[in-house]
């Protein structure tokens, strides 16, 4: 029996779903074709010279099977069957390959669009800060001049305060949109290092939550044996800035507070406000983007802050919970374990 006609070779070839040809390399005659090749290219294939000129071990055959013209791309490589050399060519319909190529192209395009979008948002939010800074400084200058000239009165003071306040609101929105766009486009690099949460709180309290006009301050209490927590410092400060900022926003009559408690295996941070509270029906949706409590009329916010907070807490393998009572206040509880499990 010819080596190519053994049951083993037949079985093997017909088990392959792609068209396969075995070619005599010296005469370039197709010695054998599997069932898939015959179905697609016809049975006149075998025993006849190959109707193509292989180039770089690949060639294309055209089939007219099923009344539809189809090109099949073959890649060949040298094999030995029972010590005799052959070319083994495996084909793939171009249609399919073409579809894959298109799909790849589409994916690449999508990725570059995503990148473009992220870059665009990053660039524009950076560019927006420049005029915002110029406006903020001009407002500061007006205020300083009015004060120097002794012309500052309650009317000027109130309205200048409003402009200034809104400038920083706009800036916060820019920050949130930028952060969310980075999250959505998967552009956030996580850099977890051992962080002393006490230092982050101290820094935030000094940088953002001190010397307030209304003289409210952040009450901080720390208990337990301090330990470092593995977290991304940038994200951790964004988490706390947001929660503390919210607490100041809602805890209008009383100082908001933060309690940091070091347990044996975990560290628990609780941020308290003594404000309007969150209606029970809103709680399940609280961490969704753009969702805002039904009782926040007139209190500014984008509804993005808590969505970002939750994402960051989870990226750092922490847990966030909320408990609230209407007209009493709200508590956000974040838990980080010292070691990953």
């Amino acid at each position: 029996m010819k080596p190519l006609h053994s049951i083993k070779v037949n079985h093997l070839l017909n088990g392959i779903k792609a068209p396969v040809l075995i070619i005599n390399p010296s005469a370039m005659i197709v010695e054998k074709a599997n069932e898939a090749a015959i179905a697609q290219l016809g049975d006149s294939l075998t025993g006849n010279p190959l109707q193509a000129n292989p180039h770089n071990d690949s060639f294309t055959l055209t089939s007219a099977a099923n009344g539809r013209k189809q090109h099949i791309d073959f890649k060949s490589s040298r094999v030995h069957i029972n010590r005799k050399a052959y070319l083994l060519a495996i084909g793939q319909p171009i249609e399919k390959q073409h579809a894959l190529k298109l799909q790849l192209l589409h994916l690449e395009k999508e990725r570059s669009l995503q990148e473009m979008k992220a870059n665009f948002i990053s660039m524009t939010s950076h560019e927006f800060r420049t005029p915002l800074t110029a406006i903020a400084t001009a407002v500061d200058l007006l205020e300083a001049r009015l004060q120097r000239d002794g012309s500052m009165d309650e009317f000027y003071s109130r309205n200048i305060g409003k402009i200034s306040h809104e400038i920083f609101n706009l800036n916060t929105m820019l920050d949130e949109i930028l952060t969310l766009s980075k999250i959505v486009s998967n552009n956030y690099e996580l850099n977890r290092t051992p962080v002393d949460i006490r230092k982050v709180i101290d820094y935030l309290k000094y940088q953002y939550f001190s010397e307030r006009k209304d003289e409210r301050t952040l009450d901080v209490s720390i208990t337990g044996e301090p330990r470092k927590v593995l977290a991304d410092k940038d994200q951790l400060s964004k988490i706390l800035t947001n929660l503390i900022g919210n607490a100041f926003k809602y805890s209008v009559k009383k100082n908001p507070s933060i309690k940091l408690r070091y347990h044996k295996h975990k560290c628990v941070i609780k941020v308290f406000d003594y404000g309007i509270g969150i209606p029970a029906r809103d709680i399940p949706h609280l961490f969704n983007s753009f969702y805002r409590g039904s009782n926040v009329d007139g209190i500014e916010g984008t509804g993005l802050g808590l969505a970002i907070v939750k994402t960051f807490v989870e990226m750092n393998r922490g847990k966030i919970e909320v408990s609230s009572e209407e007209n009493k206040g709200t508590t956000f509880t974040i838990t980080f374990r010292y070691k990953d499990e």
């Binding site: 420049t130 800074t133 400084t137 500061d140 200034s164 400038i167 940038d234």
Partner: protein, 121 residues
């Protein structure tokens, strides 16, 4: 004697206003529009403090910091960075390159002023 501050910022709408504001607080203020101009002016006038933007044409704030660090006449002048970038990487990069401090844009003048006073003590 009043301290001299060299303000390096390419956006004149900001630098003009900030100059007037600083002058209201009794500082002498010199202006430069980019890092290169800033280095030239710093060598001429040896200010007590440089306030510099990071992203500017011709020479950016990081390059400016590097020149200040390597130049024995400029090395002792503190450079305070004003940056619209709020990412911790940019801030770390500036601090590692020898910045005396940073303030993120937009800022409240009272915060900038508090930082200036802290550096000039």
């Amino acid at each position: 004697m009043n301290s001299t501050i060299l303000l390096i910022e390419d956006k004149t709408s900001l630098s003009d206003t900030l100059k007037t504001l600083l002058e209201l607080h009794e500082y002498n203020v010199l202006l430069a529009e980019n890092g290169e101009d800033g280095v030239r002016q710093a060598r001429l006038s040896l200010p007590q403090l440089v306030i510099s933007d990071i992203y500017m044409p011709v020479m950016n704030g990081y390059e400016l910091l590097e020149i200040f660090r390597k130049d024995s006449t400029l090395r002792h002048i503190p450079v305070l960075m004003l940056t619209a970038k709020t990412g911790i990487e940019e801030i770390n990069k500036a601090m590692k390159n020898g910045a005396a401090g940073y303030v993120t844009k937009p800022f409240l003048f009272k915060n900038l002023h508090a930082t200036i006073r802290k550096i000039l003590i």
